[in-house]
Amino acid sequence: MTPQGNLMVLAPVTAGRESELRTLLASMNREPGVVDPDNALVPFRRLERVHFARFVILDDRTLDDITIYGLPRVDYPLTVAFIADFDGPQNSFIDDLVRVAGSGLSRIFACCGFTGGDLQSWMNQHRVKPAANYVNTVGRTMLQVREEAALRDFICTYLRGAGAPVVAKMSPSQIHQSLRELVKSSGIKLTPPAPTPIGWRISQLINFITGLLFIPLAIVLLPILIPLGIIYLIILRKHETTDAEVDRRAAPDIQRRLAEIEDHDVTNQFSALGTLKPGWFRLLTISLALTVINWIARHIFTHGHLGRVQTIHFARWIYLNDKKRLYFASNYDGSLDSYMDDFINKVGFGLNLVFSSGIGYPRTNYLVFDGAKDEQKFKRYIRRHQLPTEVWYDAHPGRTAVDLARNTRIREGLERSSMSDAKTREWLQLF
């Protein structure tokens, strides 16, 4: 099994070169929101390991919000982020990038302080690690996605066409057998998974055990943790009752720009940026929350769902500017409004846990209650913090996370030499 890696390169835009950068990025699109996968700068299609990639300019329009705490507005330098989710290790991916798109990336990053020379090491210097990272299905490579999609399309086309009269009189297990033979003779490739890298296994195990060790540790430390917990709650309640909300609609022109680039595919991109509430307390809270979420995403939610949500392909949270700000990026199925509805109704508690540390977030109670359940306030908050993603690449357009999971089940069923009648019927219902 080849686990996915991720890369985020973050660099400040050189003064005076923003519009040049925007023009370059726009040149990668066929129309706003629709990338040309063969564009001259970064021909994504040739990066076969990539699932999703994006360029986004981190232009925060909510920097004034901090003044509600009596603090002055801070103007952070404008930065650009390049993000990719791919199969395998980061280092070899950067090699691939430079090989396939070195000159294009050099032109883009020339607007961000890259002055020529070794692009690899420049990107390495500008790498940032996510505070928390989520992968829908750990180890499902793009090769697997492509092969399984081709398999599913092949079988469906057969069953709806030439195969329809052939299978009409067959029993479920006969259909299963005949499809096995058909696929075998068709030359469709189903590459077996590569061996899992041993280094990755070891680091997973260590990380898993480290996380688990906190449970006995917490039990031992209970006499200290209980009073600490009570103090935490008291402080939390004080913050929750006094933190001001910032409830405003995003400017109409931004809303239009955001809408313009959405819903060209069944999957969408999402980028959001905001400043964290000042003070050690919220910093502590979000650090704990993201550490726990990262651990859970790494070890528990690794196969098709984050809580009840089955529509996220990849997501990540990244601290910026010494943990003063937080950036969130995701790739999800459906439109933004249905994504937000899904989140509010299914994992509102999780949203609150993280985003309540952002300035102006709808009021929560005991960290997990209310907040996002103030639906319209939450949606306004999200839209206000959302950033237009300048360039976005989806290596499997038209296929949702649920589609990919179904295709995997099709392959698994096909690879079984025999199944019970009930299982065979269930498998046939996948087509």
Binding site: L159, R160, P172, Q255, A259, E375, T400, D403
Partner: protein, 507 residues
């Protein structure tokens, strides 16, 4: 918060579709003379129906004729509604149903259904208001009375939309229609919980009227004006917004979609798929709709009562799809299963603490796609449409060798407090969505536009799951329903209508 909705202030369309008044016509008009339009509005104020029945003290004339008025954002602006209401009117209302390419993409209004090609309501023929006129008989006289001498001076008519009344409450395809409607909580007895474990049909008033708590137990954003903008004190003070008066209270949004239905096309397609067999054709039609032509659901009634489904509606509506998780009785993609999947906030078997805890974390579902669709209560609409065109029975539609050229269809109208979360969600995620509930390559068998999607083999299939394994896959489903016009409108309260009529040009 009042103890019940003041029905005397709510236009009657929220309460009823006026089905007893078998004659109706809708006029989509644009304002050409604002002063005359306002004077006309003044002249008809007393004729606009409210939601009171005769028994509740309503004007007896209301049960014989009706007039209802809804305004687009451009209409309200022309009539001089204060600009600050823009803060409270939803953005989708202000931009309009055809106002943004993204909205058209989401709603499926592309290709031949794109706004530029609409007969009314598009970029070149937008409507400022719709005037809806109903009468039990002799509509023309009532229409003349309503229009009066100012009509032609005030308005230019963009579209006069006739309606018809087919026997047995069927819509043009021949299926009994309007059977399932949410029950509005007029008495404000329902307080929505943060999590509802049972599917219910009783929905908070705030989902269909502005100014009342919605299913999140919050007030939906709504337009208000300052006290000085309402010098005659026609509007009531806005709850929760000191110094402002409530323009939105007791009003709601009206979505109008003027649809044509290819009755001949539907039945001839079903006939071809059924090799000319009448029973098979009717059965396939029922599978596509999710009910038989007579309106019977395809799944058995549930033994448990469902909140908000009274004794009279039990036969038609006391059911969920819990007994049919794989869709072998009623296909997952059937029209009525898409548009109202009848599920609560959690999958139906979420009982007991442990199961609940597991389910919240996304585990413990018997099948992988069990939890893809949930929380129907946030996505309900009140349907108030009317069909048009003469009846064409399925058996006759099959025989018709060439189209008869007579237009048939539905003047689809629905009411909701939050267009994006209610109408648009149902239309986009459920009806047009090619990935609804784990399906792929298909949209609503009746409504779908079959437009190709990058990366998908097709969008024109309809799968009928079978217990034996392989689903029956109906391929090459044509587009049967096309969009000819429409828009997003605001259906003001009676008070807000008076307020609009009272506005002076300078204010």
């Amino acid at each position: 918060m009042p103890s019940a909705v003041d029905k005397s202030d709510v236009q009657g369309l929220v309460r009823t579709g006026y089905n007893d008044m078998i004659e109706a016509r809708f006029h989509a008009v644009t304002i050409v003379d604002v002063t005359a339009a306002r004077a006309w509005l003044q002249s008809v104020l007393g004729r606009v129906n409210n939601s009171l029945t005769k028994d509740e003290g309503g004007d007896p004339a209301q049960s014989e004729r009706a007039l209802q008025l809804a305004f687009s954002w451009s209409g309200l602006q022309k009539l001089g509604v204060p600009a600050s209401t823009a803060e409270g009117f939803s953005l989708e209302f202000q931009s309009g149903m055809g106002g943004e390419a993204n909205r058209s993409r989401r709603l499926g209004d592309v290709g031949g259904d794109a706004p530029e090609r609409w007969e009314w309501g598009g970029p070149n023929n937008a409507a400022d208001l719709v005037v809806m006129i109903y009468k039990i008989e002799n509509l023309a006289a009532w229409e003349e009375e309503v229009q009066g001498p100012l009509w032609s001076q005030a308005f230019r008519v963009i579209a006069s939309l006739d309606t018809s009344h087919l026997d047995n409450d069927i819509e043009p395809f021949g299926f009994k229609d309007g059977l399932s409607q949410p029950k509005v909580d007029w008495t404000l007895s329902r307080k929505a919980k943060s999590e509802e474990f049972d599917f219910g049909n009783l929905i908070t008033a705030g989902e269909f009227l502005l100014g009342y708590p919605n299913e999140y137990d919050k007030l939906t954003e709504r337009p208000t004006v300052t006290e000085s903008e309402d010098p005659k004190r026609i509007l009531t003070p806005a709850e929760g917004e000191s110094g402002r008066r409530d323009f939105g209270l007791n009003g709601t949004y009206l979505v109008f979609r003027d649809l044509t239905q290819d009755v001949r096309g539907l039945w001839q397609f079903l006939d071809k798929q059924s090799a000319g067999d009448r029973d098979a054709r009717m059965k396939l039609g029922a599978l596509a709709v999710g009910r038989t032509t007579k309106g019977d659901p395809l799944v058995p009634l549930s033994d448990q009562p469902i909140a908000g489904i009274g004794p009279k509606e039990e036969k038609d509506n006391r059911f969920t799809y819990d007994s049919d998780p794989t869709g072998t009785r009623c296909p997952i993609g059937a029209h009525i299963r898409r548009t109202n999947p009848r599920v609560a906030d959690m999958p139906s078997d979420t009982k007991g603490f442990l199961k609940r805890a597991l389910r919240i974390l996304g585990w413990g579902a018997p099948r992988p796609n069990d939890d893809l669709v949930s929380s129907v209560r946030f996505h309900r609409i009140l349907r108030r449409g009317r069909e048009y065109g003469p009846e064409l029975k399925p058996d006759d539609a099959v025989k018709q060798t060439a189209p008869d050229g007579i237009p048939r269809g539905l003047r689809f109208i629905c009411l909701n407090a939050n267009i994006t979360r209610q109408f648009e969600f149902v239309q986009q995620a459920w009806s047009m969505g090619t990935k609804f509930a784990g399906l792929t390559e298909q949209s609503d068998p009746l409504l779908g536009n079959r437009i190709a999607i990058n990366g998908c083999l097709t969008t024109a299939t309809f799968t009928v799951p079978q217990q034996t394994g392989l689903a029956r896959c109906v391929e090459g489903v044509p587009q049967f329903v096309a969009l000819r016009g429409g828009g997003y409108f605001f259906l003001p309260s009676i008070r807000a209508l008076r307020y609009i009529a009272s506005l002076t040009p300078s204010s």
